[in-house]
Assembly symmetry: C3
């Protein structure tokens, strides 16, 4: 996703070119046959619009599916007494993200030049407020021409799913010891303000895009690291689960309760990622665009493969056993790593970029434990650390990227997200409180807050 | 889905128009360049056919996926001793639905004017009998022109999945206390006769469509309430599970055995619904059609969001805890509510329509318990009550709808489905019997009838 | 899938024809209006390329999803103590398949005439070695023209998923008693050499295609029976699970631990199969192609329906109970059976072809037990036996098929795969050994090799 408006220009260019090619060929009687044939061979503007819209719709339902993936990974990685809570949070955060992105986020993120602070030229910093509006029922081709390169409805449908993805990342890290309401209130701020504001800086054509040449195709930084920073801020203020870390520095394993669910979740996320990255091309109305979508999907798969294999080999070396949870997180880290630039790498480079992501996860998880940062599902290594790595790795395969622009953008997005998130978490902690009582935590949040046990007959 | 033939006319119109535009421009040497360009900009008839067909195929596989969603929701909501039976019923009913719809249902539902009783003009009441036939392998564009606006095979593939959906609704309500064979025999009648006959009244161009101006875009009434009425008739004759209701009027909770499965099922259904509603546009061969598909998908999502959030807030208020099962059913009720008209609402209206659906579920579930109607998964509130609400709500956003036509159609479909279903259930009860023995029910149907325990090692 | 090059010729033909039709109509001033209109009505070459590519991408992500299906079926069918291992193997084998297919397999399977041994004319036997290379970023229509009928990237994305499918089949049969490393080493050979080499004989235009007129549309033999033969060879050398067969010939049931997972896996595979078969048409850029894709999807569904119903009825007759695991495997066998020819049958014929597959499974499972071949998930009946049946059944509906060519191809592919697999398994057994120690097997592979229990709290 190179910004909302870039593909408009590209796709519009294709359509215009075909019209320009066609125009003289028809107006002048003596038009050479070749030109006419070339025009006939190209894609009619309406078809471009239809195909671009279709890509966003397919991408949208695939990214929607990732919500189920997060829910299953997290439900599988927590203990049985907190499973219903984790499921509830995943449904609720998705619903809140969609509502807030409709009410505030979409216009804030894609101001189309109407910046509240800044401008496309000088650098946009804060987008416009307003609710998302879909185009009229049954628009005509002429009206569509005035709108954009694809149906607004499909763009909203696609983008709203990215907002929900960012929020999904947070819930895994903070699992098993956060009350539901502070979590949901934070989600309101994250999806209504934090995510769309920083998203506008790149994808809305804001200052990171226009001033720093920041490249982040589908969101290693804009989506994944943002979720990771927000989770990290929460984890620091929330503290670890009771009994996780001993005074002597040793760690009590609290194994996930359902590995098939976690594995299913990984496969769901992997599938959804083909839409996440593939449809971020935002266009398939030309031969070049659709071939690029194909490259992206193949590379996305290669990134996951690299991450899974690297985690498999590395855990076999370090721990003498192949740890399933690391392989799951390795694949996910590979996916995050390839997300900033899934187009330009070769299949081999994509595999290597993903492999580094997998290695990062295997090394970072024990490191976090040493720092006593309790990340229940490993979301910080997977989404934040691999997200940073993927954003840096753009420079290895895309000649348009510059390391300075990538690094400064990572830092600016990181500081903004971490600081604002920290402040929000802090206010919530100081007011309604973040943690349930020790008794409730020991009892499990399913009984304490949800009233529905996940597996009432399995104990 | 505004009837099989309506989109034929619309899409055919687009194609014809482009031909008519092209024709004079070519025949007359002095054709104005603008017209020619306009023709070149529009979508070639073959492309319209391809795109419409593609929409139905994508929609078809997404609606297929809902079969897995029903299976998972129901398997998660029943007790462990009846899980295998519930899975078995969901596979079997899907297979029976597909077979019967092929043998009888498809032609009965879409008689294309060949009514056994009635006609398109006077109002059709009973369609034609005959098996479904796909077009020849490798049809040419000319042959396709004679057939319809999309491949018959894709239309069959899409429609058969709706028939299976209607049948899926029934199995959840009657879970844990019905023998397999009477259930499957009822499914034969439902999918071979009840569903397609009433379906023909609206979508086949029958009397509800032609005489009452009934509007039901994707089936709040035609699919969901039909499943709900059939389930209600069965539940009344079948009675509650043993031990569910005490003599003093109190209710024994029989909690579902696996919340992750139920949640997964909800996500699957939510995903499938994008095809259920989105592809019911039946066409994406024009700018207007594809933009409408986008609107529909975005609104469908908003409906689910509204239902989930409303159920979340309302259960928090009423029960002081956020009940996961209500949130799941709230999202589903939101989806059912937006199904009768997912196109004309704004995103805000769609959210509100869904929210009312979620409220209905939270209020209706205890009401059914008071009436001692034992609906194991809440299918009656979700599919019947929210289906009725959604069908009425059409009048709020679609100016073509009239309240009288909506109400009378709801009533006619309801009486027909309920009465015929009741008679069938009654005959089954009087002959082979509906319920297993008390011993078998206490033992669990998995051991008694299936011979395969769902979780043999988990107790 | 009728070979990589066949659709190139067909689709190229369509595109060329439309150009040829357009050319004179434009060059000559007096071109008849009808021809011009016909050209305008047809699909522009760029659109053909885009649509074909899109089909392969949709097909690719659907077939990817089958990896999750295999993982869930197998995790549900093994005992709890080996679930994590089974999940780990399914992720790992998928990753290895993708890596090896990239490094070796793709070029070996589709040599595009560059045979190391043989030629297209005389019959190709061994393809070319080399890594898979995707086309450049942002190719133009002219460059695409030189490449093929669809983006290479999309073709790779689609084909690599088939390779992984073949490998997935093996892991189920050998579950619960094979160490991870020999299994993964075998997977390297299977996906890097065995699968692509035999695949080249048919789909790469090799000798089975050119000399024997072998027809296998989407791989009943090329994919499914290959997985089945490799699994059979492994099962013979590996032996049965400890305690499975008693000295007196009786069999100890070792029931699967999680039926909802197994059912979910079946639904996932069923969904993925719409891409497996549907996108094997390899083209949807014409009315005929897209209508064929629709036929294929409808028939694929019918095959599964036939298999499920046949297994349901037959187990009810034989065992007096309807066995869920047989219904699951019946549906899958129906899918395998219709895979060799999903296009030419009518819906009725497709249902019957699938039904025979379901019957084969019900009869073959106890037969294998009599032979003391321990096939944990029933992959040999489902993929090998139904695969052979489906390949033979092509002759009933496709007049281009000849029984001799089908049989000899089944035999050649079978002997090659079985013998090479047997040798590899034998070497592995003789060197690093295939089986864990008896203690480890009794303990369960999750504790012994993976270090992660699947359900740590459920016992």
């Amino acid at each position: 996703m190179t910004g909302f408006k870039t593909p408009l220009r590209i796709a519009g260019g294709v359509a215009l070119a075909s019209l320009l090619l066609a125009l003289p060929a028809i107006a002048q009687d003596a038009a050479p046959a070749e030109e006419m044939v070339e025009a006939a061979a190209s894609v009619a503007p309406d078809v471009v619009f239809i195909l671009n819209t279709l890509l966003l719709l397919i991408g949208g339902f695939l990214v929607f599916w990732m919500a189920a993936g997060f829910a299953m990974v997290e439900a599988g990685m927590v203990r049985t007494k907190n499973v219903s809570m984790q499921l509830l949070k995943n449904i609720s955060l998705f619903a809140i993200a969609c509502l807030l992105y409709y009410l505030v986020g979409y216009n804030l993120m894609y101001p189309l030049g109407n910046w509240a602070i800044g401008s496309d030229e000088t650098g946009g910093f804060l987008g416009a407020f307003g609710i998302a509006v879909l185009e009229a029922v049954g628009i005509t081709a002429d009206q569509a021409d005035d709108i954009s390169y694809a149906a607004t409805s499909s763009d909203f449908f696609f983008q709203v799913m990215f907002c929900a993805t960012a929020a999904s990342i947070v819930s895994g890290t903070l699992a098993e010891r956060i009350k539901i309401w502070p979590f949901l209130i934070f989600t309101v701020v994250l999806t209504g303000l934090i995510y769309p504001i920083q998203g506008s800086w790149k994808w809305g054509g804001g200052f990171l895009d226009s001033q720093f040449g920041f490249l982040d195709f589908a969101g290693s930084t804009v989506v994944h690291s943002v979720g990771g920073w927000a989770a990290l801020a929460g984890a620091l203020l929330l503290g670890a689960r009771r009994g996780k870390y001993n005074a002597d520095g040793s760690v009590n394993a609290m194994p996930g309760s359902n590995m098939p669910l976690a594995t299913l979740g990984m496969f769901i996320l992997w599938l959804g990622w083909f839409g996440f990255n593939g449809a971020s091309q935002l266009a398939m109305g030309s031969v070049g665009d659709v071939a690029d979508v194909g490259r992206i999907m193949a590379n996305t798969n290669a990134g996951a493969v690299g991450g899974a294999l690297a985690a498999m080999v590395l855990t076999a070396i370090i721990y003498k056993k192949v740890d399933l949870t690391f392989v799951i997180n390795g694949a996910l880290a590979g996916l995050v790593s390839i997300t900033a630039e899934p187009l330009t790498p070769t299949l081999g480079a994509a595999t290597l970029i993903g492999a580094v992501g997998g290695i990062i996860v295997v090394l970072a998880v024990p490191m976090l434990d040493k720092l006593k940062i309790d990340d229940v599902v490993g979301a910080i290594p997977v989404h934040l650390l691999a997200g940073i790595w993927g954003t840096i790795a753009v420079v290895f395969t895309n000649p348009d990227a510059n390391l300075g622009g990538q690094l400064i953008s990572i830092i600016i997005v990181g500081i903004f997200t971490f600081v604002v998130s920290f402040v929000i978490w802090f206010i919530l902690k100081a007011t309604i409180g973040l943690r349930p009582s020790a008794e409730d935590e020991d009892l499990g949040l399913d009984k304490a807050e949800v009233g529905v046990e996940a597996y009432p007959e399995f104990k």
